[in-house]
Structures are given as C-alpha cells and as structure tokens.
Symmetry: C2
Subunit: 357 residues, 2 copies
C-alpha cells in the first residue's frame, strides 16, 4: 500500500487523485489522504470517463481536515497541523498501514514530517534527498538536492557515505567514485564547509576523487556528487532552466529560416528524446535517504502522469526493499565506526565543555 498526500501540489487534489487512480488501475494499492468529499467527487468524475469505476480499484481514503499550503513555514506547519493530509500520509507509513509515502506538496514540510515521523537512522545527522542525473554515457547520483540548505562538513561526509551505499547497491559497483561539488578542482576551492568536507573525505575509506566542477557533471568523471541541499538544488534547477532555454532558442531560430525549419522537422524525434532526458520531472520524484521508511518527494508542479510515475517508483522501492536494504548497510557502516546518536550527543557535550574551559 502506497500512501499519497492527496492535497499537496500545485495541481492538487485533482492531478494527485487522477495519478493515484491511474496507478491503482495498474494494481497498486493506494491510501489517499485528504478531504474525503473532494477525493470522492474527483474519483467519481474520473470513473464516468473511464472503463473502470473506482470502487473496483484498490483505493482507500483516509479523511483529513487540514492542508499544509505550498508557502507554509515547514517546521511550524508540521508540528501544528497534525490532521493535515501530509502528516497523516507519513504517519500511516510509520504505523505500518502503508509501506511508502508520496507527496508533491510543500517539500520542506515533507522533509520535516519524514524526519520527525519516519525517524532518522541511528547516527545519521541529517536525512538528504538523492536523485540521478543523466550523464553522457551513464548517470550521476546527486545528494543532497534540497533537504538541507546549510550544511556542516560532517553532514556532507555522511551524504557521501549514503551516496556510496546507494550507488554500489543500485549499480552493483564495489567502489563508486565520489566527488564533491565545488567551484574548482583544487582542494582549496569551495565554501568553508566544502573545503572542510574535502579534508574529511580525503581521510575516509570512500573512493573520493576530489572536487568536481558542474561544467563536468555530465562527463562521467564520478558516480556520486555530494553537495549541500541549497547548491544541489540550484545546480539541478539550472540544468532544467538551461535545457528549457536551449529548446526555446532552437525554436526561435527555426522561425528565422526555412532550411532550419525543414532541418528541425526532420530531427524532431531527436529533440523529443533530448527533452525527456533532461526533464527529470518525468521520473516522478526523489527519495529521502537516512530515514526508516520510503518517502518520495514529487515535484510541486506534478501532473497526473508524474504522480502515477512517483507511485510506481514508490512501489518498486517497496518491492525491491531498497530502503530496508540500504538502511541495513548504512547501520553496518556507522556501527563499524562507532557512530550512533548517543555517541554524537556525547561528542557534542565534550566539545561544549571544551569551549567553556
């Protein structure tokens, strides 16, 4: 069963319910969390135009009375709006009613709800969002792409570890190459936090290949790129913006010349494929790493197809036990290094004591 935040997203609830309906037709059991009357009205209207009426599909509804808006302040809203569609959807996974949750709503709030309700893996300082970006001949796993705007070097070190484990698991690579996103290849390049993370990663047992400039992210020089959530998010959105602008300029140029028009008409299929390659919204969403259960953060602008894809992705994560296998390996790594929540708390207390001396 996949829990879906029916009220979260720019086109919620209609696009979300429609996407859930499409996934249910493919046999995926869905728990729609949101306003029951609205959800039923949408499901009824979809059923009219479709062969399958919704009561015959594996769809359950969990009625909720609150909505966390896209512009709401994340922590405050999660703590105060306990009967929101988001909080209830996440809670259904923590309680074992569902095995994964999908939300296209306020991503900051989804992150807070995921961290507080699904709980962090013991010893993990900050959960992080990870996603693959296509490269010239393969793909690169970017972590964090939006969960943590300000990162201490130790957070980046843990993102690198999570990237290592995930990519070695998914791509069956023993020692994936880990790079650090920076503004230059030299060790002295980068923000203070990036420079200190460089020093930590050089000393780690990971296959750290140094700093990587975003000019080279598509060049298959690394399997994982580690970044703070602010910069990672800026990088991914710049990729999207540039791709969109290039398609726009190509179209503008086409209008200027008949030959260009004919040329582009002949190579139309090419551009369709290219657009899909870059438009990572099509993939549905990104996983949150470092928490106990699968949470998929879908794009706010998700349409029904994107939501359907996010749900299919969530189901494949569940079927392949991705998060439980990932967490088991992560726990092994952390415990081998003696890193637990209580160890970290003790370290912090010690450092506080030293500052007082």
């Amino acid at each position: 069963m996949i829990a879906v935040d029916a009220m979260g997203g720019d086109f919620a609830p209609r696009a979300i319910v429609q996407g859930a309906y499409q996934a249910a037709i493919k046999g995926i059991p869905i728990l729609l969390c949101g306003d029951e009357d609205q959800i039923i009205a949408i499901l009824n209207s979809i059923s009219v135009d479709s062969k399958e009426i919704w009561p015959s599909l594996p769809i359950s509804i969990h009625h909720t009375t609150q909505i966390i808006s896209m512009g709401a302040e994340p922590s405050k809203s999660v703590l105060q709006e306990n009967d929101s569609s988001l909080v209830q959807a996440v809670r259904s996974v923590a309680q074992g009613k569902a095995q994964a949750v999908v939300s296209a709503g306020n991503s900051g709030a989804a992150l807070v709800a995921g961290t507080l309700i699904l709980q962090r893996v013991d010893g993990i300082l900050r959960p992080a969002i990870g996603s693959f970006l296509p490269t010239k001949s393969s793909s690169i796993f970017c972590i964090d792409i939006g969960a943590n705007t300000d990162c201490k070097p130790e957070y980046l070190e843990q993102f690198a570890l999570m990237g290592h484990i995930y990519v070695s698991m998914i791509k069956n690579k023993a020692r994936p190459r880990i790079a650090l996103l920076s503004n230059g290849a030299e060790p002295y390049k980068g923000s203070q936090s990036v420079k200190q993370a460089y020093d930590l990663l050089i000393k780690s047992k990971l296959n750290f290949v140094g700093n990587l400039e975003p000019r080279e992210i598509f060049d298959d020089q690394a399997d994982v790129i580690v970044c703070d959530g602010f910069t990672g998010n800026i990088m991914l959105k710049t990729v999207q913006g540039t791709a969109k602008a290039m398609v726009y300029w190509i179209d503008q140029e086409r209008k200027k010349s008949l030959w260009h028009s004919i040329g582009l008409l002949l190579s139309k299929g090419l551009f369709k494929g290219l657009k899909q390659k870059i438009d990572y919204a099509k993939k549905g969403g990104a996983l949150l790493f470092g928490v106990q259960h699968p949470l998929i953060i879908a794009h706010g602008c998700s349409n029904a197809t994107a939501i359907e894809n996010a749900i299919l992705y969530a189901q494949s994560v569940v079927d392949n036990q991705i998060i439980s296998r990932f967490n088991a390996q992560l726990a092994d790594y952390l415990s081998a290094q003696g890193i637990t929540d209580s160890y970290i708390a003790a370290q912090r207390a010690q450092s506080f004591d030293q500052q007082q001396l």
Copy 2:
C-alpha cells in the same frame, strides 16, 4: 594602455602573448608582464608568420621573475610573490602606468591582488565579479559569480546595490529589477545568509522582486540576480555544462538516424549561433566591481581569441570610463547612507563590545 598578465592561464604564455599581439594590431597599447625572454621568443615567432612585426606595434614588456601557478593558494602567493606577472600587472594599474589589467591566471589570486593593490571603494565590504548571462529576450546580470565563496547577508545586499548601479548605467534603466538566487520563491527559502539578505533587500530602496529559482533565470523576470560567489559560480558552470551536454547528445542522436543527420545538417547554422550564445568564454572575461580600477578576470582556459576579446573589452571599459563612473555613483549611494570604512569599523567594534558584555 592595458596591462596583461602574460604568464597566467592554462595556455600561458603563448596564447596570452598571441592574444595581446592580435589586440595590438587593432591599435590597443599593451603592457605585457612576464618573463621577457619567453615573451620576446613568442612575439618573434608570431612575427615570422604575420605581416606585422611586433616592434612596430604598441607593445611594451615589463620583465617579471615569478609566476603564480593555477593551483597556488591565492592570498599567500600574492603576498609572497611580489615580482610575479600578476602582481606586477595589477600594480602597473595602481601606479597609473596602465588603465586596466587582464589576467587569465589563478582567479583567486587575481581577486586578492585586485582587492589589495587596486583597493576597495570606501565602504564596500567585498568586491564581486559580475557578468551578463543571455536570457530569452535580453540578458541578466549575475553578481557575484566567483569572488566570495562565503557571504554574509550584508555582502549580498551590497552586491545588489552594485548590480543596480551597473545595470542602470549600462542598460539605461532607472529601476532594474533585482532578484536573489534561491531554491524557491518563498521568503523562507534559501540558506541562512540568503534568507537574511532577503530581509535586508525587502527593506532597501532597490527594486527588489524577491527570490528567483534558476529554473527561471532565462525568463526575463529580473535584470540582476544576486548570489554568493560559490553558488553563482556553480550556476554559471552548470549552464555551460548543460549546454555542452545537450550539444553532445544532439550529435549522438544524429549518428543514429539518417533523417536526423540530414535535418541537423540543414540547421547547422542554428547550432553554431546557439553554442556562441551560451559559451560565455567567448566574451573574454568578467569585471571586478568594488575596486578603484578596472580588473578583468579572463577564463583560465582562454585561447588567443578569448584573450584578444578580454583586452578589447578592457579597452572599451577604459574608453567609456565604466569603472570611474560606476565608482562615483557607488560612492554617492554609500555616502548618502553614511557607509564608509570607518563607519563599518565602528559598527564592528560596537558589536564586539556587546558580545563581551
């Protein structure tokens, strides 16, 4: 006279000297700073293949004995290598021998040399690098794109002011729209520093239009985008990387289908134009704002044409008195607000005293 750091850059000294020679043919007086023997040998070899022999051109040489390498630690090398080509080139401007300086060498060192030797404008906390990026129907001025990796909110506020002055001067716009680069439009989105800068800019007299996501940088929603140098650099290099990757993928697809091949052959001119639009290396370099004299930071990978363009750009900055006019306006703005170095020092002392209480 334009001072040129002949020894700085991936292809130095040959590409630099060649570029300077080309600019000198166009009548621009050049002061080449670097190893005299090497420079003369290159100039001689160029003269052999060319109509113009170099002694007939307006080229002077200032012999220097040290080189700051691309990988050297910026502050240390500038302070220790006083007879380096970079330091001497910058010094020649401070001494009035030349009116602007171009360097494709270690950009961190160029920045340190610019700040220390050319001196900050009174009241400016940190000089910043600014450059235009093409947009769908115009361009957007990005500041800072690499000078300051870690920025306090007050630095970002001053970058906004410098962007405002420069764009209103260059584009003759009374109130250019100023945006802040962030991971979301909402005021609560962004790193700590960006969020605090948002609060400062909302209160300022500038035409602040809020946060801008990089998905929308090409959409003409703002005239200036303010960012810290780390994120700005990541954004610009991601634009370059994405454009390069798209051109690569188009070429790969072309090889798969005869129709695509023919199509792309017909629209070849289109892609050439597009590549030039995005490849901002062609423009030669970017200006440093907030110092007393013009310093142009060229790309490390500059070839001779890029250096020639950077020198032509430097000459146009001198001819149009860009930096002196800019600095006069900046001084007016700052003094109207009572902001000077001594005011800032007094503020800092006060805040230090308060922390001690």
